[in-house]
Symmetry: C2
Subunit: 189 residues, 2 copies
Amino acid sequence: MATPREAFIETTARLLELQGYHATGLNQIVQESGAPKGSLYYYFPDGKEGLTAEVIERIGASLAGHIRDQLAQVADPGQAIDLFIQQMAAAMTASDCRGGGPLATVALETSASSERLRSACRDAYRSWQRAFADKLEAGGYAPERAARLGELIIALLEGAIILCRTERSSAPLEHLAEELRPLLRRMEE
Amino acid sequence: MATPREAFIETTARLLELQGYHATGLNQIVQESGAPKGSLYYYFPDGKEGLTAEVIERIGASLAGHIRDQLAQVADPGQAIDLFIQQMAAAMTASDCRGGGPLATVALETSASSERLRSACRDAYRSWQRAFADKLEAGGYAPERAARLGELIIALLEGAIILCRTERSSAPLEHLAEELRPLLRRMEE
DNA sequence: GTCTATATGCAGATAGAC
DNA sequence: GTCTATCTGCATATAGAC
């Protein structure tokens, strides 16, 4: 964390994933980032909303890249997606079922109250959906089918994350991987 | 809304769905409920958390009953679930994509910070999952398959709701209904 | 049962010195 | 760029009269 600006962004990203938007205060962000308190409004003149908007964009781009990297490691789309979900389940366990889905809480909290944050979340979700869809297309799926399945996969992942957090168990994600496995095989035919 | 107690519960249920937990203040609840301000802590000595816990239980039981009622109107489980999701999509449109998923936001906001609210949400989700699973079992699915598919359906619905709210469109729910249709047919065989 | 008044704390945001 | 001090407002919760 070189500059205070980066420190704010990285700390905010972590806190938003764990606590959501309204439960995360600027005081906590300043404190945990270790950045100078007086510089927050210098780097983010729009305050909390502006800072959050940039964090959402970062998370969106970062995770989209991560998805593409992971999916590129296995040729078959079905197997690649299967493996990706298994890794998400492992990460869920590692975070004691408190992390995962870095935007889900913020998206639900702000979609009705801030147009700026809603559209930022929307763009992030679209980029993740496209990452999956591109992999499926490269594996031979028709573009329209690939886009549909990409949307379905994002919905499944986000929903499974809600269940994992409320159950405090990674089982829903693991079940999801199992259920999707034969499904993506069958659709290849 | 006869008693102040009921007024608090119903108003809180509505606000939690639209705004989530941390964005909903007791002052707003009192004001919009029309109930006497001085009686909130009389009926809910545990304050906001106690009130919210009871609201979650109510929403859980109420929606579980609604799911069972709706699914009972069509004999075939696949068709019944298909119709149910289409009605959810219609309700999503009617609420201008601000409603639907009455617990999703609260579940994510509180699962890491309140054991009481987390377990209340968990029980609600389980009851909904069971409502779908029972319908599938009655339609001939093996109990283990029915339970798995029930979990899958809940995850899909909750995830689709997140996408609908961020996209401000009911399309994700409508797509979900279309994609699930052939899937539940195929699984019957 | 319901009231008003208030305690206490923290939220986001700003002003002006340095 | 960063500081301290502070403004304004609302949050949950409580006390004590009626």
